[in-house]
């Protein structure tokens, strides 16, 4: 029996003019890993939720055609009757936990299915080991880190021993190492357990080499094909594919290993040359010493504690006007705390913070928004108007900007957003775009971004990088915390790496990124030992040579 059959399916949400998806023809084969890719807001999540019955049972809308899961049609049975066949892990697992402790959460689905207590006990133990979370078994779920929560969420559906696992962006909020852990666990499930897995992912560089087939959702009719074929013209692609396309490699390499072999001659050709096509504009070219002489962000000897645990311990950081600084480090290393302290949301126990010469904790109202802009991890928190248009107009008014200024920034970031839609109904990436627009339209002296790439596709990331560059040229100091090695190495002048609340590396992006095993971008890994960071600079160097 085919695990999932999607038969000429179309879906139109209530009140929408056009369908999100139409004429979807797809059958998920036994034991395959299917990766769903596509730009922000294209309907990836809708497609995944269709496959477990949550759409349309929990979303409303008009479904045409038929989705069959394990022989049962989702229009006949609600999702709960499919719980033993298909397990669904939503994008933000923190909101979906039902129980207090890890062990109880794992048992929850089995209790509902009426699994015998003896079997239940055995499956909990096995699943804990399979995902490597046995040491967390008695922990309270709220006390776990993002990566741990993600693995618990996967384990919590696996205990039902479903044949199909559906994951919505399982690594979007994880640091590179934790993402590797989760993907390794998923790989093990596919290869050793024989599970069928359907997952969506924005950071394709992490999963594309694992995929058996790829569904490209770009427009209402998704296309299904082999990864190497899909990547030839996919609107979203990892750097390794972009490099392959630019160099005309055939077949297109999908993994670092394949690309390194294909790039042997390229490395020889570029030997002894320094990357020059891409030089960070701004303070570096203007002479970083002058920028450092008058930093707009100054933090000295910061210590921030939660109870007895120090989230930030003795940290010094200075950044000048127009500088772009990427803060990296594993989940829980103090990145968010540092940003919150710089924004004056938290008062450090020791040390001092000065933003543009002022204590950020004292700034309020107009003085604040013209100095500090912070986009938190959950950008939706910043929005509270009932329409996108109203949100933009409010931001214009409060920042004493020309009417339409905020909307213009929004159009640059994520074009074509319907002005009358409620911010809540935007996709995660669109919502982030709106929050960014609202904050950056004021041209704050310092812009702080916490995980700005969560849920963003490649195009939106390109535009984010452009926007950061533009703000930097106009003198804004941009500091962003990220797990996205590609974005950090491409758009930051400086990378600061934190561990346990301390700075363990601080230097020009090229030095830090190329000398790290964890934070090196794909191009650096392909071109190592030479210090090339982006596809653009390699292409330019090759172009200049010929």
């Amino acid at each position: 029996m085919i695990p999932i059959r999607v038969d000429n399916v179309g879906l139109t949400y209530a009140g929408a003019m056009s369908p999100v998806l139409s004429h979807v023809e797809l059958s998920v084969e036994e034991g395959e890993l299917l990766v769903v890719v596509g730009p922000t807001g294209s309907g990836k999540t809708t497609l995944l939720r269709l496959m477990c019955g949550l759409v349309p049972h929990f979303s409303g809308g008009t479904l045409t055609g038929q989705v069959t899961v394990g022989g049962r049609s989702t229009s006949d049975v609600p999702p709960r009757e499919l719980a033993d066949i298909v397990g669904f892990v939503p994008q933000n697992p923190a909101d979906s936990f039902v129980c207090d402790t890890v062990e109880e959460e794992l048992a929850y689905v089995m209790e509902n299915l009426g699994v015998a207590p003896v079997v239940m006990r055995r499956r909990v133990e096995e699943t804990l080991d399979l995902l490597g979370i046995a040491d967390l078994r008695t922990r309270e779920i709220w006390s776990l880190s993002g990566g741990q929560q993600q693995r618990v969420a996967i384990a919590a559906v696996l205990t039902a021993s479903p044949r199909i696992l559906i994951l919505d962006e399982p690594t979007s909020s994880l640091d590179p190492a934790a993402a590797e852990d989760v993907l390794a666990a998923i790989g093990r499930l596919v290869h050793d357990v024989g599970l069928t897995v359907v997952m969506s992912e924005h950071r394709l560089e992490r999963v594309i080499h694992l995929a058996d087939r790829v569904v490209v959702v770009d427009g209402p009719v998704p296309r299904v094909s082999d990864p190497a074929v899909a990547m030839i013209d996919s609107p979203v692609a990892p750097p390794v594919v972009h490099l392959g396309r630019a160099m005309g490699w055939d077949p297109l390499p999908l993994s670092i290993r394949d690309a390194r072999r294909a790039a042997a001659s390229l490395r020889v050709a570029l030997e002894g040359r320094e990357p020059e096509g891409w030089a960070p504009a701004g303070p570096e070219s203007a002479g970083s010493s002058s920028a450092r002489a008058e930093p707009v962000v100054e933090a000295a000897g910061l210590v921030v504690r939660y109870g007895s645990r120090a989230a930030v311990s003795g940290l010094d950081l200075a950044a000048g006007a127009g500088e772009i600084v990427a803060i990296m480090g594993r989940n829980g290393s103090g990145k968010s705390t540092l940003l919150a302290t710089l924004a004056g949301l938290m008062t450090p126990q020791h040390g001092r913070v000065r933003i543009d010469g002022e204590d950020p904790a004292r700034l309020t109202g107009g003085e604040r928004i013209q100095r500090i802009g912070l986009v938190p991890q959950d950008p939706g928190a910043l929005l509270y108007s009932s329409t996108v248009d109203h949100e933009c107009r409010t931001a214009d008014r409060e920042g004493h900007l020309e009417p339409g200024a905020t909307r213009a920034v929004l159009d640059l970031l994520v074009p074509d957003i319907d002005p009358d839609v409620h911010p809540r109904d935007l996709s995660e990436g669109q919502r982030l775009g709106l929050a960014l627009a609202v904050v950056t339209a004021h041209h704050p002296v310092v812009l702080l971004l916490d995980e700005p790439t969560r849920g963003l596709d490649d195009l939106a990331k390109d535009r984010l990088a452009e926007l950061m560059g533009e703000l930097s040229r106009s003198g804004t100091c941009v500091i962003f915390a990220t797990h996205d090695t590609e974005l950090a190495s491409r758009s930051a002048h400086r990378i600061v790496v934190l561990a346990d609340g301390e700075v363990i590396a601080d230097g020009p992006a090229r030095d830090v990124a190329c000398h790290s095993t964890v934070f090196a971008p794909q191009v650096a890994r392909i071109m190592a030992p030479a210090a090339w960071l982006t596809v653009a600079e390699v292409v330019e160097a090759v172009g200049a040579r010929t």
Partner: protein, 355 residues
């Protein structure tokens, strides 16, 4: 690893026993003794969890109860003879409010009576707070009979919603602060309330879809006798209500009490039995009722018996007179009851590593 968790029912029996003693007493020495016992047991037996805050919350509430009651006593209490501590200016109220006195001399006797009455309620509150710390409500719900499972889940979700809403409030206020908007006053309240409610609703929907996707409310899980057992439970509870009315009322309805209570109990028991047999839902590692659970439960029953015995020996020991004021005393049954109530410290201490 042996399962050392004590059945939540035992903790509730222990706490409710102590609360029952407190509810019958205005003896300040006894009430102070109960608070001491409760705090000692909580200190020795709790395991860390976010619920740990709840005792602090209840203690704060208890202190407020006492403070408020004493203030009311000072301002409004009827003027009784006794040792005058100080005199407040007296207000003359219009005729329709006759019987309420405002101000006037404040006596030591009325103050002590006020403190004692408030302390009774405060100690009951502390007992409830203690049991919340020792056995989280979620754990008790896990031990409920199958027929109450659905209601139990609804209550659990409701209980977790409150702390989540508090977190949401601080998140939204932070966001408003970031955008330079007011976080206080009427404008701040309106700007905060709407997103908080929206957020709560969104989370509720996410949780509902997650529970559904994991099989909550499956047709075959509740078992074939579900509606029959629910109906029986309803009849049983109604019958118990009638019986309870009969017990409390005087006159001919009293004769109804015995049969109605018996019928009600039988109906409830049958309902639970039916539901338990029919349900396909299973329990993961249910907390067993162990010997230490029996000991904990008994250590809550003993003080109740002791207080009844003490009241039999000396009717004034639980509620010492405040007019004239006498020093509250302890008799040996009360002391024994309090000592027995410390048993959980011996039979159910938290593992040293968790402390």
């Amino acid at each position: 690893m042996t399962d050392r968790r004590v059945h939540p029912g035992a903790w509730w029996a222990w706490a409710l026993g102590l609360a029952a003693v407190a509810a019958r007493a205005t003896n300040l020495v006894l009430l102070a003794g109960i608070v001491g016992v409760v705090l000692a047991v909580v200190w020795a037996c709790r395991t860390p969890s976010p619920q740990q805050l709840s005792l602090a919350v209840f203690v704060r509430l208890a202190v407020w109860v006492v403070v408020l009651r004493v203030l009311l006593q000072i301002v409004f209490a009827p003027r009784l003879p006794g040792t005058v501590l100080f005199t407040l200016p007296e207000a003359t109220l219009p005729g329709w409010a006759a019987g309420i006195s405002v101000g006037g001399p404040v006596t030591l006797e009325s103050l002590v009576a006020g403190v004692a009455a408030a302390a009774r309620l405060a100690v009951v509150l502390i007992c409830v707070g203690a049991v919340n710390t020792l056995a989280t409500p979620g754990r008790l719900l896990k031990s409920l009979p199958a027929v109450l499972y659905e209601a139990g889940v609804a209550v659990t979700v409701g209980l977790t919603a409150t702390p989540q809403a508090m977190a949401e409030v601080s998140r939204v206020r932070t966001a408003r602060h970031l955008r330079g908007r007011p976080t206080r006053g009427a404008a701040g309240l309106r700007g905060t309330a709407v997103p908080v409610l929206e957020g709560a609703l969104d989370r509720a929907l996410t949780l509902a879809s997650s529970m559904d996707a994991r099989g909550y409310g499956r047709r075959d899980a509740a078992g074939p006798h579900r509606f029959r057992s629910l109906a029986l439970l309803g009849v049983g509870l109604l019958s118990i209500c009638v019986g309870a009315y009969g017990v409390l009322a005087s006159g001919p309805s009293r004769s109804l009490a015995g049969p109605a209570l018996a019928l009600g109990a039988a109906a409830c028991a049958t309902s639970l039995l039916l539901a338990g047999r029919g349900s396909r839902r299973t329990r993961y590692r249910p907390i067993p009722w162990t010997a230490s659970a029996t000991a904990v439960a008994l250590s809550g029953v003993v003080p109740v018996v002791a207080s009844v015995v003490a009241a039999g020996l000396d009717p004034a020991v639980l509620m010492p007179s405040t007019q004239p004021l006498v020093m509250p005393t302890m008799t040996w049954p009360l002391v024994l009851g309090l000592v027995v109530a410390l048993t959980p410290m011996l039979v159910a201490p938290a593992p040293a590593a968790d402390r």
